[in-house]
């Protein structure tokens, strides 16, 4: 069995969810990695990932913004050599893989959290309130991988050969216009060892600054509940949950978040959960290892001071 993994890349970095997809692919067979676009550093970075046996490069500018229409066509052209096509459950993977699957007349398997065998997978349904074991009868499996469920393959240690893909006709249905990406010095939410998230209890965007010194001290990524994003406190890419990002850091700190199931769906696999909330009945306390019933406006400055103490 040979598995093709579509990689998300930026400069010399292969995104962590893609390395988790490589880890999942290693449970299935020999792993080939697909790097699409004109990024000159990505192929070498892909070749260095431990476990990758071959890198395929499709170096056409048409792939530079990972638009679904050309990328799905590329995957379909490459598919005959493979038993499985994988990608991380990222914005790109979710956009591209179902499109490729339909072109192959295959039912995709989204957000796989465990590989049982070549045909059988576990995936969460109903916001993670149930885990379904599903078996595919399709000849080729098209899968997105829940990154939080697989330790990423190491970015060093591999020496895979690099090969160019044959050119594929580019559909002209869509055009990339612009991106407005939030800039941050902090680690990415899905890759961070510590995540600190604020909810509606933060009251406004300005107050999110109270999280900064704590995030700095802990090397944490900052996240948010949907309520905080909808209210405009922080950008959309901060959202943790069923329909936002799924995270499973060593430490998740929920500040002024009530703990709706849609939020829990995105963080309840974290190793240690801390909740600070002024309502002792808040459902977040039912999943928190450590709870503090307190007003966040007094607790956060105290927490920053306490952490800064040598």
């Amino acid at each position: 069995m040979t598995v093709l993994v579509l990689l998300d890349h930026e400069g010399s970095v292969i995104k962590q969810p893609s390395r988790s997809a490589v880890a999942a692919a290693m449970k299935l067979g020999e792993v080939h990695a697909l790097v699409a676009g004109t990024n000159p550093e990505a192929a070498a970075a892909a070749a260095a990932i431990a476990g990758v046996a071959k890198v395929i490069v499709a170096g056409d500018v048409a792939y530079d913004h990972a638009m679904a229409e050309p990328l799905a066509a590329l995957l379909v052209a490459l598919a005959p050599g493979y038993t499985h096509l994988l990608a991380g459950s990222t914005a790109i993977g979710k956009n591209v893989m179902p499109r490729a699957a339909a072109l192959l007349d295959v039912q995709p398997i989204s957000d796989v959290a465990a590989v049982i065998d070549a045909d059988t997978f576990i995936r969460p349904i109903y916001a993670g309130n149930a885990l379904a074991t599903v078996r595919s009868s399709d000849a080729i499996k098209v899968i997105t991988v829940r990154a939080a469920s697989f330790d990423p393959a190491p970015s060093e240690g591999g020496h895979a050969p690099i090969e160019a893909a044959a050119a594929v006709a580019i559909p002209s249905l869509s055009r990339f216009v612009s991106a407005e990406l939030s800039k941050s010095e902090r680690p990415e939410l899905t890759a961070a060892r510590v995540v600190i998230s604020g909810g509606r209890g933060m009251q406004n965007g300005e107050n999110f600054k109270l999280l900064d010194p704590i995030a700095d001290l802990l090397g944490a990524a900052v996240g948010a509940s949907r309520a905080a994003v909808d209210a405009g406190f922080v950008p959309n890419d901060y959202q943790v949950g069923q329909t936002g990002k799924i995270v499973a850091p060593d430490l998740y700190v929920a500040i002024g978040i009530s703990g709706a199931i849609q939020h829990l769906a995105g963080m309840k696999d974290s190793k240690v959960i801390v909740a600070i909330n002024k309502d002792e009945e808040a459902p977040i306390f039912q999943v928190a290892d450590y709870g503090l019933v307190a007003d966040l406006f007094t607790a956060l400055p105290e927490l920053a001071d306490e952490l800064a103490r040598p």
Partner: protein
């Protein structure tokens, strides 16, 4: 321009779902059902496009058991003009839904299909992308803003790093993200009016589609339960626990 809006009937998002004792699925008997929240956003977007004079007719489509007609009625009460019910008791997976919707699109010839990015029951996030593929159309997924500009749509998408804007040729598929709009509540007069709007019923065979599932559910299980931990008295105690007991900082 005609707009097609697929609307799925799902367990209401406020319901705490329970896995059946025999592990065959989750309990849906006697449970409150509603329109998938992302599909409400899709209906709302279509209605706003009609209010702006861009859309001329909105057709709501639901696929599944006969009671999906109720979900179509909700869409009609929000402002859709007519409904199509594809009735079947076969478990429908996104590939089958996409094939059935393709057949309907070929009959109805809409200029735009607006649908949810994700059904909150199967959490697949696949059907819109698949329908776009089967039709050979462009897709604007996870949309937080849609501007129709002649033969094109400019779609702002919620992506991992923030927002991205793409231009797609019409006809196309748009899938909705949570911040595209805030769906309206249907008013009582509109609920009354919706009762008179037509719903056409058909079967998968009428559309020439075999809806058989490709994924077999072997079993459904409860996820491991997290135990509630301890409530602490102070920030100092919290930091001490994190350092000495949990050893995560």
């Amino acid at each position: 321009m005609k707009i097609l809006v697929p609307v799925k009937r799902v367990v209401d998002y406020n319901v705490k779902v329970r896995v059946k004792a025999d592990g065959s699925g989750v309990e849906t008997q006697g449970v409150k059902m509603s329109m998938n929240p992302f599909d409400e956003i899709a209906v709302e977007e279509a209605v706003r496009l009609k209010e702006k004079g861009i859309a001329t007719e909105i057709v709501a489509v639901s696929l599944g058991l006969a009671n999906c007609a109720e979900t179509i009625r909700t869409a009609l009460a929000m402002g859709a003009d007519r409904g199509i019910l594809v009735e079947t008791d076969v478990e429908l997976q996104p590939l089958a839904v996409a094939k059935l919707l393709r057949a309907i699109v070929q009959k109805e010839q809409p200029g735009l299909v607006v649908m949810g990015k994700q059904a909150i029951d199967d959490d697949m996030n696949a059907t819109g992308q698949m329908l776009a593929a089967l039709l050979g159309w462009a897709q604007g997924t996870f949309a937080s803003k849609v501007v129709i500009d002649g033969s094109k749509a400019v779609v702002t998408r919620e992506v991992d790093g923030g927002l991205e804007t793409v231009e797609i040729h019409l006809p196309a598929i748009v899938t909705t993200d949570l911040r595209l709009n805030e769906p309206r509540y249907a008013s009582l007069p509109n609920i009354m009016k919706a009762r008179k709007k037509p719903i056409e019923t058909m079967k998968p065979a009428d559309l020439g589609v075999d809806p058989a599932p490709r994924l077999t559910t072997v079993s459904v299980a409860e996820p491991p339960k997290r135990q509630a931990g301890v409530k602490l008295k102070s920030v100092a105690e919290l930091v001490a626990k994190l350092k000495l007991e949990a050893k995560v900082i």
